[in-house]
Symmetry: C2
Subunit: 342 residues, 2 copies
């Protein structure tokens, strides 16, 4: 499968999820500070990995788009809620090439919209009862409950690192935090839900955990790399934003563990500075350190290793399934995770 085909399938599944989201947004007041804003982030686009994974796995297991669509809608809706709230929490400035919601509105309104999006995401999962029966619907609700809890726990770990200016971290700490914050909701749970639906509850979803974990790590490391050295117009967020926000990326942890004590003190001081303006001013110097210690190359290497591990898991789990367009999509998506430039 060529990249152009893969992108077209991704766009197709994403479009289905976005159409669905639109239908779940109440067509009523208050619009200006609620329901119009609920529609904003989804309308800005995005890659659609989560609904793509869920629908493709469901179909690879013999299910249909119709069976997967409500869950795919919920996944994309939860993701967008998470972005609105995450942008407030991180003080981010741009999202998908536009100002973040709290920037063009205010923090109070953005929080309310983010929480509303979380609440609205539950409705398609309730509607699953009509398509899949109540038993499977409840099973998927428990998957979603777990997914959101893991993300919140991962977010708490990351926010704690920043708040306490934790600088003594190993790769393993990053992997565990990313497993919680990213892997469950970006890969593992979309894969599990797709498999549960496609197999009508017969597949043991635990089998997909390792695949989703490696894939999610590859995805997140690539995302962190693009945030440092990507093309701002394609990437859609401010380049270097993670650095300014003090995010403990694999690169930053590599640097902290390889630079001189004096340089480490400098990085620690940079990270402890309460003023975003000051950090913005000094970020270029930290980027130079990251380049000098080849921390970005190191992260690229790890992302590649993770993608390789994901591919091995793919062959293990999907070997028994008949060949299909969706199975091929899944396979190719793995390497695409680390090739993408947006």
């Amino acid at each position: 499968m060529r990249d152009v085909q893969l992108k077209s399938m991704l766009a197709e599944y994403h479009a289905h999820a976005l159409q669905g989201i639109e239908q779940y947004i109440p067509d009523k007041e208050p619009r200006k500070y609620l329901y119009d804003l609920v529609a904003d982030y989804p309308q800005r686009g995005g890659k659609g990995f989560r609904p793509g994974l869920c629908i493709a796995v469901c179909k690879a297991y013999g299910g249909t788009l119709e069976q997967a669509i409500n869950s795919a809608i919920a996944l994309e809706f939860f993701h967008n809620a998470f972005l609105v709230l995450d942008d407030v929490q991180d003080g981010s400035q741009f999202r998908r090439n536009k100002p973040t919601m709290h920037q063009y509105n205010n923090i109070g309104v953005a929080i309310n919209v983010g929480v509303a999006m979380n609440v609205l995401s539950m409705k398609p999962l309730m509607m699953n009862a009509n398509v899949l029966g109540p038993s499977l619907a409840v099973k998927i609700m428990h998957e979603a409950d777990h997914m959101v809890r893991e993300s919140l726990e991962g977010q708490a770990i990351e926010l704690g690192w920043r708040k306490d200016n934790v600088c003594e971290l190993e790769d393993g700490d990053y992997f565990r935090m990313t497993l919680k914050k990213t892997c469950w909701y970006t890969c593992i749970q979309p894969l599990r839900i797709g498999a549960i639906i496609g197999s009508r509850g017969r597949e043991n979803p635990e089998k997909l955990n390792r695949f989703g974990y490696f894939m999610g790590l590859a995805f997140q490391i690539q995302d962190d790399i693009l945030n440092l050295v990507g093309d701002e117009a394609k990437y859609g967020k401010e380049i270097g934003g993670d650095l300014v926000e003090g995010k403990r990326t694999l690169m930053l942890i590599h640097l902290l563990n390889h630079c001189t004590p004096a340089e480490k003190d400098r990085v620690r001081l940079f990270l402890s500075d309460a003023s975003p303006q000051n950090r913005e001013q000094h970020a270029a110097g930290i980027l130079k350190l990251l380049q000098r210690y080849k921390s970005i190359e190191y992260a690229r290497k790890i992302a590649k290793t993770m993608a390789g591990a994901a591919l091995k898991e793919f062959y293990t789990v999907f070997a028994k399934l008949p060949d299909s367009r969706d199975k091929a999509f899944m396979e190719n998506l793995i390497s695409y995770m680390i090739k993408r430039d947006y």
Copy 2:
């Protein structure tokens, strides 16, 4: 029923809900920036109106504490989640005599905790399936879904008024906003859920809407009055906080509609000031205006009228139910709503 008996029943039902909340908080990491904080606001106390209403109505309808408890836990948990997020949105300083969560921690962590509390509140509603059967459990989930949506819509209306510095408001605007933001989640839905459980789904919950609406209005107006002229130690929040935050209370709306054009300009300017320090400095002057125009007396009168209307509704809806301690509790709670000093 004397006040001391009423308070003791309220405390008893509240204690049941708090014990339940504790059981639904995961006993695991990350504690410092998540699960320890999830427990904070509920542990600070509060009045427990919502679980009290739900349990008492359930029992008045012939149900038991055991049947109502999961829903009562969810109501109290949702309420505490709402408070954590509301305090961030309003920039409030104190809650139940202690610094608000974003004050003693930071905004990012407080948002994450508030969202986590919302998610955790869903679990007792799922557990209802084991006690009440899946059909009644799903019915109550839809009640909770509606409750949270109404609150978020009310919050959006109020945040919009502040953001656009809306000063042309009537009493009816305040009543509609309060119906959405307060009445549904403080009174109407707790009453409905209690009646649904107590009657095993046989009572038409719509019958309780007017009762809850009037009771909720009386409650909220009294709360707004206490925020202006209450005893800070008893009330637990900074006195005058609503004024500094620019909340459109019934008193403020009364003032805006009765003062001179010059005074109205002064109030409008005060409300438009982006600096909380400036507003804090000028709040005493606005309070004097509220006193001069007897706006607080006016609000007291309206609260009394609403309590009277609630009592009339109580007699209409509860007349058919046999006399009981819980029925008497419900009746006495109405006047207590406007007598309370905390």
